[in-house]
Subunit: 139 residues, 2 copies
């Protein structure tokens, strides 16, 4: 039989290289458009559509993380190297955010992973609510 023909053969173009480059510059979540702006400022003239396509492709292979905000925007950030793993508790009204850590959750995630035979686990936890101040103000 012919070969399985697994990988769609990704090519290394200068624009893809540029994208991977800026991605490595920060580990913050940013929108495709934000990354595009950043690329422009860095002198690269990558097209917006290309940024969208590349981020999507990278997200599918797991090389970048993607999350969708409550306003429907998709944010991306480079994957891995994120040892400083923590989550945020954000107030939906005033927007303040606290860092929180959940060792129990990390352990739980790891357990589920091994139970089901999953590897290279990653997770995103978004926790929102209305803080005490805003609740007091009637929100």
């Amino acid at each position: 039989m012919t070969d399985a023909k697994a990988s769609p053969a990704p090519r290394m173009t200068k624009q893809r290289a540029a994208i991977l480059d800026v991605l490595d510059g920060t580990d913050e979540f940013r929108s495709a458009q934000a990354w595009h702006d950043l690329l422009r400022h860095d002198g690269s003239s990558v097209g917006l559509a290309t940024v969208y396509r590349s981020l999507q492709a990278l997200a599918e292979t797991g090389e970048v993380d993607a999350i969708v905000t409550s306003s429907g925007e998709t944010l991306y950030r480079r994957c891995g190297a994120v040892n400083e793993h923590h989550h945020h508790l954000r107030c939906r009204v005033c927007g303040t955010a606290d860092d929180i850590e959940v060792p129990e959750f990390e352990e739980w995630a790891a357990r589920i992973a091994s139970e089901r035979g999953f590897a290279r686990m990653d997770h995103t936890v978004e926790i929102t609510g209305v803080c005490a101040d805003c609740t007091a103000k009637g929100h």
Copy 2:
């Protein structure tokens, strides 16, 4: 300065009543447009913008739940009654997803909420990895 003007005073109009009515008909998550269609089929001629505005208002007061799908669409459902809350474990390579439940996490989230004085908590948990099959295939 002038008055504090706290509550904007919500009015009970027939369209709002119709919306609350269909909302009570199902406890599934549906998009604003889907609810609108449903209303139309029920004979009500509520405007789309009105449906959006009402659902938004209801979501703010906590009377309905709102979630954002990975494609950026916002889904709503009547609040309460339903605590069939679960998350997904998704393979980044083949895309298969399993439902998983994390009572511990729910408890933990609730605890954090009360500790910090937060109210009306909500959370999103995205767990991804590479499943056993895909790992075996070298991914």
